[in-house]
């Protein structure tokens, strides 16, 4: 959302004029060169915000993983009483909600934040303060959602929370309200983030970075952010209707008053299907960056990769009712949505084929990042194939609400999205932190994840086809589900340990790096292709010393390799030689600010107010308004800062907007 700032005029300022530092409402002074925690709380640097997104996401991965293991323990053997039905409902709901909204989405946002400005050659995003706000409000919403465990129990309606089960009549506890309000708040962060990142890609590209020279990751993130921009408001409306129903006795989903609760399913899935694509597309972008680097070949069919991504973005809006084949929608709707669902497999298939064609004939370097990417290609394809089988509406009627569905979406979201993100973590880790992750532990990490993952979710295909319903607390020994459930439980614990081993890897690698005297990993440790590798590692605070001028797709690569007279591709320089030295003199950066954090904190206050007592909304709203005006009173950019600004070109002033 646009926060209008005046762009400070460098050229028009009388030289040396000290502009009065605005003291917003006297509440805060501008944080100056903050260190430690304060630095992180007030930062508007897209790289730090990206790292915070990633950290929060990994924390929630752990937080949402524990419930998953509890579920598997409960289901390990028939007729177990480890979890009561009520607890089981809350645990699977919170597992799904946390994993989708607080792990996969922010992990995509983490990569987008860190990499997008670097890949398009910008100093920061278009609105740095809004960027910080997006993160804090996401975190506030996520934490608020999870405080429900301590304030009356988690939500228990499944992650899609169907009406009328989510109504006050059937669900009088506060769990659903926390789900509702927490996600509303997190949604604000997604929306402002989307506006910000789209503006960045459209408007902050380096000179010469034309559309068809943008890296695939940038393209996929752009599509993702457009999906967010248009899908989040639909969820917002659905949740507001539910909120009004629950808190102010509305009748939107009140069947007594003649309403049709199917409306919730429509609204939810109109959001929900673009949602599944916006979870997977960033991972697609990541592997499209990793595979060419380690296959030592340019991406095969670049324009097809771009346009298939755009096609997925559009078609993702036309398939929502395939989640609703058993809800009683008419035969024509079922047919139309079934056909659309089959068609959306086409652009996805184009992507898979292009990855394979990139691998084909390449000099493959099978390091951990590459292995995770190949893992995505393989496992996502398996998940995609079971997904297409849902497009056969008659078969889907059998599969709905069985473990077959659970198997499918874990193959695409865990085997797909999360493997892609792990690939990205291993790939870009040296860029962000200055040292590589250990390859040996990395390979253990990968292979144990593959084994654990397939042991956990592979058997669920069989269980589902045998008829085991999902969201059931237990089953009977006579039903024949025993063996595969035990296998899945064993697999899930392998998977749990494997997933966490990346943290162990980071620790071990850091210690080894420190012992070795913190050697410089160099700007380009992988001999890579895109612009983020043309600057030092870890990324200097100012990103680029000078805005790069781009003349090609994979411009950085072409600075390192050129054809000789015989048409043979030869290395003419190392990455180190052509990289920018990291001299930030004369670069002016947007100043840190408290206000994004303060503004974000007002939302959970209002949220708790809506759940417990409207009186609590009053301080929330007061804080909100104060923060909005405080934010506005504070110039986005602090020209009194120590950064010299006498000599720089106006183009180098970035993110002056907010």
């Amino acid at each position: 959302m646009a926060i209008i700032e005046q762009e400070p005029s460098i050229a028009a300022l009388p030289s040396g004029a000290a502009r009065t530092a605005a003291k917003p409402l006297g509440a805060f002074s501008r944080p100056r060169n903050p260190v430690g925690l304060k630095n992180w709380l007030t930062t508007v640097d897209h790289k730090k915000i990206g790292i915070m997104y990633g950290t929060a996401s990994l924390f929630f991965l752990l937080w949402g993983g524990i419930p998953a293991l509890l579920l598997r323990l409960q289901l390990a053997r028939p007729n177990q009483g480890l979890l009561s039905g009520a607890a089981y409902n809350q645990i699977f709901t919170m597992h799904g909600t946390v994993m989708i909204f607080l792990v996969v989405m922010p992990m995509g946002a983490a990569f987008a934040n860190y990499l997008l400005p670097l890949q398009v050659g910008a100093r920061d995003v278009a609105f740095p303060r809004i960027n910080a706000f997006s993160f804090w409000v996401f975190l506030a919403g996520g934490i608020m959602l999870n405080t429900s465990w301590f304030l009356g129990g988690g939500a228990n309606g499944g992650w899609f929370n169907y009406a009328p089960n989510n109504g006050i009549t059937y669900n009088p506890g506060v769990g659903i309200d926390f789900w509702n309000v927490g996600l509303l708040i997190a949604g604000i962060g997604s929306l402002t983030g989307a506006v910000n990142l789209i503006t960045t890609v459209l408007n902050m590209r380096a000179p010469g970075m034309s559309w068809m020279r943008m890296p695939i990751f940038t393209w996929m993130t752009l599509v993702t952010q457009f999906l967010l921009l248009f899908a989040i408001p639909v969820l917002t409306v659905a949740q507001l209707l539910l909120l009004f129903d629950r808190r102010f006795d509305g009748n939107f989903f009140n069947v007594d008053q003649g309403s049709d609760p199917l409306l919730w399913q429509h609204l939810f899935w109109i959001f929900g299907h673009p949602e599944v694509y916006l979870m997977i597309l960033p991972a697609f972008g990541i592997v499209s960056e990793v595979i060419p680097v380690f296959a030592r070949k340019p991406i095969f069919g670049y324009p097809f990769m771009v346009f298939s991504g755009i096609a997925i973005g559009f078609m993702g809006w036309g398939v929502w009712a395939h989640h609703m084949f058993v809800s009683g929608i008419g035969p024509l709707s079922v047919t139309a949505f079934a056909v659309a669902t089959m068609f959306i497999a086409v652009p996805t298939g184009v992507k898979v084929l292009n990855w394979l064609a990139t691998l084909w004939g390449g000099k493959l370097i099978l390091n951990t990042a590459m292995l995770f990417s190949i893992g995505l290609v393989t496992q996502f394809t398996l998940g995609g194939l079971s997904g297409v089988s849902h497009a056969v509406a008659s078969a889907d009627t059998q599969q709905t609400d069985t473990y077959y569905i659970v198997a499918h979406f874990h193959y695409v979201l865990f085997g797909g999205a999360l493997f892609g993100f792990y690939s990205g973590l291993y790939f870009w880790f040296p860029k962000a932190f200055g040292y590589k992750l250990n390859e040996k532990i990395g390979k253990w990490n990968f292979w144990s994840m593959v084994v654990g993952f397939n042991l956990t979710f592979g058997p669920m295909h069989i269980l589902g086809l045998q008829g085991m319903p999902r969201r059931m607390q237990t089953y009977d020994a006579s039903q024949g589900f025993n063996t595969w459930n035990m296998v899945a439980t064993i697999g899930s614990f392998i998977l749990g340990v494997a997933t966490l081993s990346i943290l162990y890897n980071a620790l071990v690698s850091y210690r080894a790096w420190r012992r070795a005297g913190r050697p410089d990993v160099g700007p380009d440790p992988w001999d890579a292709r895109s612009l983020e590798w043309s600057i030092q590692s870890p990324t200097p605070e100012h990103n680029f010393d000078v805005s790069p001028t781009v003349t090609d797709l994979d411009d950085f690569w072409h600075h390192k390799y050129q054809e000789d007279d015989n048409g043979v591709l030869r290395r003419i320089a190392t990455g180190k030689e052509v990289a920018q030295p990291g001299n930030g003199e004369g670069v002016h950066l947007p100043a840190p600010s408290y206000w994004p954090l303060v503004l974000a904190l007002s939302f959970p206050l209002i949220g708790y107010g809506l759940i417990f007592s409207l009186w609590l909304c009053i301080p929330g709203v007061v804080l909100l308004i104060t923060a909005l005006y405080g934010w506005s009173l504070e110039p986005a950019d602090d020209l009194d800062d120590d950064h010299g600004h006498g000599d720089h070109h106006e183009r180098e002033l970035v993110g002056a907007n907010g």
Binding site: M1, A2, I3, I4, E5, Q6, E7, P8, S9, A12, R19, T20, A22, A126, I130, L184, I185, I188, L191, A194, V195, T199, L202, N203, M204, R205, L229, F230, P233, V234, T236, V237, L243, F244, D245, F248, D249, G250, N251, F252, Q257, G258, S259, D260, L263, L267, I606, L610, C617, L624, L628, Y629, S632, L633, E634, P635, E650, R651, A656, N657
Partner: protein
């Protein structure tokens, strides 16, 4: 109801309301022409972001309008079919005449006062005119006219809101409560959301007027006026949709 939507709407409105608030900025305004800095498309970041935000609002109001239409259809069907809960909910046990009329016509039209709402629509359209004239004035450096037109816009917007409050009160007295019936819930939510957006716009206009009287809203800030204008016109076209779809089409 209006109160609750306003609170809710701060989610959407809040950041938009910040938009102009920052104009209270202490930056000296003595350099009238400021630098436009490099952007890839040559468009202003702010304006692009505003249009993207409005695009997202389209989906928001689209969902609310379709929710209203579906709810209205279901309401009338159930009312005509004689669902006792629905009849009780709408008549509140008092106003039988209105309910009978609705059943007879199988429509919610008897509820509405079209001439009154037409006047409201006219007022909102007029405020859109004064808003563009305000923008025109600021681009031409005519600050006196800027103040006049901004104040006119705010006055007209406030009048519209007053009409909205009057209409809500009337409907409430006629038995259309928020929690009584599906129609009430859907109608008050949709129009309340629009009203909350108008209120947000009024706050923005208020800030602009304050700044223009402080001589801080000058030619170099013309884009700010334009952005508030974009928001204001958007709220106006949402009313164009609501007026036709909710009020005129039975």
């Amino acid at each position: 109801m209006a109160e609750t939507t306003a609170t809710e709407d701060l989610d959407h409105e809040g950041a938009a309301a910040a938009e102009f608030a920052d104009q209270l900025n202490d930056t000296p305004s003595d350099f009238v022409h400021h630098e436009e800095h490099y952007t890839s498309l040559g468009l202003s970041n702010m304006k692009l972001a505003m249009w993207l935000f409005l695009g997202s609002e389209v989906l928001l109001f689209g969902a609310l309008i379709s929710t209203y239409l579906l709810s209205k259809t279901r309401f009338i069907t159930e009312l005509v079919a004689g669902n006792p809960y629905v009849i009780e909910g709408i008549s509140n046990g008092e106003n039988g005449a209105l309910v009978n009329e609705m059943i007879a016509e199988a429509s919610v039209e008897p509820l509405f006062d079209i001439p009154f709402t037409s006047l409201s629509s006219f007022i909102l359209l007029m405020s859109s005119l004064s808003m563009v004239l305000a923008h025109k004035s600021v681009t031409e450096g005519n600050y006196k006219n800027l103040r006049i037109w901004l104040s006119t816009t705010m006055l007209l917007g406030a009048t519209f809101m007053a009409g909205q409050v009057y209409e809500f009160t009337t409907f409430y007295r006629e038995g259309l409560t928020y929690d009584g019936s599906l129609l009430g819930t859907a109608f008050y939510t949709l129009t309340g959301f629009h009203g909350a957006h108008v209120t947000g716009g009024l706050i923005m206009l208020g800030s602009l007027i304050y700044l223009s009287f402080k001589n801080k809203m000058q030619m170099d800030r013309a884009e700010t006026v334009e952005l508030v204008g974009l928001y204001w016109h958007f709220v106006d076209i949402v009313w164009v949709l609501i007026f036709t779809i909710v009020y005129l089409i039975p």
